[in-house]
Subunit: 217 residues, 4 copies
Amino acid sequence: MTAPLPERSAAREALAEIGRRFYGCGWVMGTSGNLSAVVSTRPLRLLITPSGAHKGRLQPADLLEIDRRGRVASGRGRASAETRLHLAVVDERGARAVLHTHSVWATILSRLHLDAGGLSVSGYEMLKGLDGVGTHEHREWIPILANDQDLSRLARRMRAALRRHPGAHGLLLAGHGLYTWGDSTTAAERHVEVFEFLFDVIGRTMEARHGTRENPR
Amino acid sequence: MTAPLPERSAAREALAEIGRRFYGCGWVMGTSGNLSAVVSTRPLRLLITPSGAHKGRLQPADLLEIDRRGRVASGRGRASAETRLHLAVVDERGARAVLHTHSVWATILSRLHLDAGGLSVSGYEMLKGLDGVGTHEHREWIPILANDQDLSRLARRMRAALRRHPGAHGLLLAGHGLYTWGDSTTAAERHVEVFEFLFDVIGRTMEARHGTRENPR
Amino acid sequence: MTAPLPERSAAREALAEIGRRFYGCGWVMGTSGNLSAVVSTRPLRLLITPSGAHKGRLQPADLLEIDRRGRVASGRGRASAETRLHLAVVDERGARAVLHTHSVWATILSRLHLDAGGLSVSGYEMLKGLDGVGTHEHREWIPILANDQDLSRLARRMRAALRRHPGAHGLLLAGHGLYTWGDSTTAAERHVEVFEFLFDVIGRTMEARHGTRENPR
Amino acid sequence: MTAPLPERSAAREALAEIGRRFYGCGWVMGTSGNLSAVVSTRPLRLLITPSGAHKGRLQPADLLEIDRRGRVASGRGRASAETRLHLAVVDERGARAVLHTHSVWATILSRLHLDAGGLSVSGYEMLKGLDGVGTHEHREWIPILANDQDLSRLARRMRAALRRHPGAHGLLLAGHGLYTWGDSTTAAERHVEVFEFLFDVIGRTMEARHGTRENPR
């Protein structure tokens, strides 16, 4: 993770474009979802979407710059309560970008598999889109945490889950969606697309399966 | 609801953009759906989509301005017969914008749950996109009314339902779609996205569920 | 059907825009689908999409002008073999625009219901988007014809079906898609959206239904 | 396959547009998928998407030019490991364009039908979008190969499958997606749309079927 930090203006542009693309994919409805990128490490500075922003209309100037306590250093608007989850991921993983989407399938699967504590995915070429994964035989464990309106507590639980699962590339909050990250906005966006694709495949396989007697392998 | 009223030109622009976005989401097919915004309260003036407008091509100049009886005060075209439903919501809720969408899942769920009189939704983070809702544990009751071509009667039944369910943020007409509202076009659009997302989740959960033995919580 | 005929340039623009919108909806994949509009009645002249055109890239200049026998009067390219189906509809219904789409759900439902000879649809507000329909209680019968590569024979069978079902607003070719029409490109496009919406609702209701014990009404 | 070769600039433009359209269709998520076009036969030169390119942002200048061994002749970036699969198809079929998509339904069906060695499709008008197919009664056999991270071995297996199935217009890699081709980028794109449409139809028919007692024919 020694890639150079992006220019603020380039990071603003990248996040705004990602927001508009994700809106087009239906992953950030109802002003859900949050997007952030690290633009300085010492001191830590994050660009992040403000609370209540419509991602389909997101503009570079809409992004807030926050410090490591989540205080707004520049920009108009209020930082989302979920800012501390972004800071937890940056801290635990050294991530340079953290993206939170809220798709239909992530919502459904995160509830169906909450009791199991996570979702195991293997056998898909798409897994190779995750950093460091070189084969479809890779088994990705996606931890699922119960949702919580106490964001401090949720951030602590997220940190603990990230430590327990050092190989995880993302995690799900039940009924709430996906958090994933990367060493750049490009890598983090790729991770979102990989996970959302896999959720779609897993969900539709459940729908289609009982129409056949063959077992998917 | 003491937010300043929008300029007419801004409200026209906002409604036209919402129409085009909703078309892109597939929620206003076949010239279905109606969008309105209050631009004056004394006397009451509403901008509203004309009857038969294709929402994917909606332009600011297409919107009609109507008075509290639904008469066209300015603009070319005929006000939709559903105008009185918009006026009922404005009157009962003090709404500044009323949006009616007509999606596939709203149509299906409104018929499947008509006998139950409504649809209960809880446990989803997305619920926090509804005004005044602070937790996913909130239980939203979405009343469902039988459809009716007598719009005066339907407007009276809608008023009665709104009074019976003062906490409701939207309601469904069976086989016909969603009505929701807000204190701005921005808030009302967010409500549409929240409800349509939830309908999608509920519908697809029904499809996927019988493929698993786990129960969603 | 005494509306004035559109200017050729306006009709070209309208059809090209419809093609691009339908591509965005996924209804004309693989160069499937054909779009036509009457631009002269005496003698009869139709603008129609050429064989093999990608509808997502359709431009006004791409459209062919043909006569009542389907011969190309102006434009580059070959008229589709299905041109005679368009001419049959124009002749039988006095239509000013004929649109043929080829969607996933139309394909599935046309095969599932071929033995029944058609699909009956009632109870949906969306039906009011069909010309002359004033209530959701209307029952629309959508005839389904077996597909046939002998286009002369298929055109004759289509004419016979149109005469047998004078109230029908559209018909399905099994495994092949929808034909619908209207007294303008605007009306015909509305009919496509109405039918495609209804096919989507009917298909997804089939998927969702067995997950519930309630019966849709 | 004696059509004139496209100008390099036109081929670059065509592939970039295809990439952006496929992204809009959800077929190349997570930087998956690869697109190539032959721009010279003696010596063989292929334009191909570089490894890790986001297809939704693909620009003409992003494409690499490679030789028959997959070495980059011009352009910045690394050729995808799957380049040799493209070269295998060009060699075996004399294809002028090879497109690899990675859709949800292709992923699901390729796994469900791997044991059967392929997927048989018949009865759909859409099949006529495949080069040389003149009737919906055509039976297309789509071979399915197990996925493999040894790309040399996979390329050999792909060559063998292409020889065993000389009539095949495409093939599936299990859990990995579709390869198809054509004598131009236009033809290859049409083949992708035809196959992806058919996968969607087959997948949704599986979902819908158990809701009915009628058998699709």
